[in-house]
Amino acid sequence: MISVLELSHVSKLFNPGTPDEKIALQHINLKLNPGDFVTIIGSNGAGKSTLMNIISGVMKPDAGAVRIDGQEISGLPEYRRSRWIGRVFQDPMAGTAPRMTIEENLAMAYRRGARRGLSVSINASRRSMFRESLERLGIGLENRLRAKVGLLSGGERQALSLLMATFTKPQILLLDEHTAALDPARAELITRLTDTIVREMQLTTLMVTHNMEQAIRLGNRLIMMDKGKIILDIDERTKKDLTIEKLLGEFERISGHKLSDDRVVLGG
């Protein structure tokens, strides 16, 4: 079976040759099968965001290869990879255009990966499709199609970002602590939406989280990172009997130090 995503020997070095030199990723090997929903945990600076940025093409790896559906894509710029990759960022401001309306944002998401031409983006049939999709979020955005996104709350924006990122069923969905900036109730709402959408669309997903309980509860695979390496890869069966204590214990045993994450949340 061809992996949806395959990273082989991916390494990334920041500020090479300077006193600030920093190995962010070393020899990362990772294969995702279709429908894999992988949660990623790890201490601050472990390289989780760098990994996401390398997959999406924001950064280029210094060594190694990134393949999607068996095709090498390391040379492609971010905007050309986006036809396969949907992303939600940690910052609720990052995933939407604030001065544009909800329907305009959705219209842009709808054209992911397609050639953009001179046809008018929004017509009646698209608008009703947007409305239907928004209804499924269950937070009333379907009645505010023409509201500027900048007026939405962080949680609403993140829900919209999630919908936009998954709108055209990307091959890979990358979520980088996308609930971290929200209050617990909103975070839980977005987590639930994520779980529903990923399952319904059977999206191959990588989700970085600092919430141990969430990392265990969601998905079928859990990866632990430390100092630029994947130190543990837990499959579905093992994950079923995992507890937060076991997970933290395992981290300490392998890495030799405690999991240090300034945003770490143990429970949900």
Binding site: R87, A97, M100, R116
Partner: protein
């Protein structure tokens, strides 16, 4: 008085194209493009040269528009492919255009005072009015297309639109080109209206454009693209009226206009930031009082003597 007001409205309509061009870069792309000072002259120069050589005035407008697009294209390429800071790309292009404009014109000043222009053929109000309406309609159509949305998103959140597959280099280049096309067209019309093109006619045009955009938005609002573009046109007219009125003040000279314009822009730029900062300060004070107030209450509530 009335005639000078009518003159101001006419000038406003001519400069409205410049203002719309500046609106595209400054507001939509969030790119302060100084090419404008050069490309305005490019447009005026091309029109004057062609008209004085007997070419059709409408044709000269089209060529001027194309000339502006070419200038914008260069600035866009410098900024995106050359990775030169936006302001600097504009300045470089503006300086380069000074020489290029002299080459186009052949001399620093060309008179076309008796020639047929687009403003002499039919009633100038009809020409100007229909031209502006067409430009407004085209802009409002363009900014609702897929490319147009991507262009707007580039100025709003470029990281986001890249993650949806738009090449933001391309959208920036398109925006800066269109903008300078409009600016050059405005220059071509001004040359025809005033009867000459001068190598210095573009000096300070970026500030005039900014003033129009800012006045228009402040006075008439900017809820969406249609609303904002109409406001910008009205802003250009209001600006010209302000200028006409200022010139009637005895101790002000025509040459003081640039400083007045700069002051208008400075006020318009400083005022919103300052008022936002004030609001934030007030808010912070209020919240602090609420929170510390709540804390001291909590403290009392936890008092063990109760």
């Amino acid at each position: 008085m009335i005639s000078s007001l009518i003159g101001a409205v006419e000038l406003g309509l001519l400069y409205a194209l410049l203002a719309l061009g500046v609106y595209i870069t400054y507001r939509i792309l969030d790119f302060p493009d100084l090419t404008v000072d050069g490309s305005f002259t490019t447009g005026g120069g091309i029109a004057a040269v062609m008209i004085s050589h007997g070419y059709n005035a409408w044709l000269s407008c089209i060529v001027a528009f194309a000339g502006g697009i070419a200038a914008g294209l260069c600035t866009g390429l410098l900024h995106t492919k050359g990775k030169i800071n936006g302001l600097l790309s504009g300045i470089l292009m503006m300086i380069a255009l000074h020489s290029i404009n002299l080459r186009i014109m052949g001399k620093p000043n060309i008179a076309i005072i008796d020639a047929d222009t687009v403003l002499t053929s039919v009633n100038p109000w009809i020409v100007l009015g229909s031209m502006l309406i067409i430009v407004l309609l085209l802009m409002n159509w363009f900014f609702r297309t897929d490319v147009g949305l991507a262009l707007r998103a580039t100025g709003d959140n470029d990281r986001m639109i890249r993650s949806f597959g738009a090449n933001t280099d391309t959208t920036k280049i398109i925006g800066v080109s269109l903008s300078n096309g409009l600016v050059a067209l405005s220059g071509a019309l001004i040359a025809q209206q005033s009867g000459f093109a001068d190598i210095t006619m573009g000096v300070g045009m970026i500030v005039v454009g900014l003033a129009s955009v800012i006045i228009g938005e402040a006075v008439f609002g900017a809820r969406n693209i249609i609303h904002a573009t109409i406001s910008v046109v009205l802003g250009a007219i209001v600006y010209r009226i302000v200028v006409a009125l200022a010139l009637r003040v005895e101790w002000l000279d025509a040459s003081d206009m640039k400083v007045i314009t700069a002051v208008i822009v400075i006020i318009a730029l400083v005022f919103p930031t300052a008022s936002r900062a004030m609001k934030q300060k007030k808010m912070a004070k209020k919240r602090t009082e609420e929170i510390t107030g709540a804390l001291s209450k909590e403290f009392k509530g936890g008092d063990l003597r109760a």
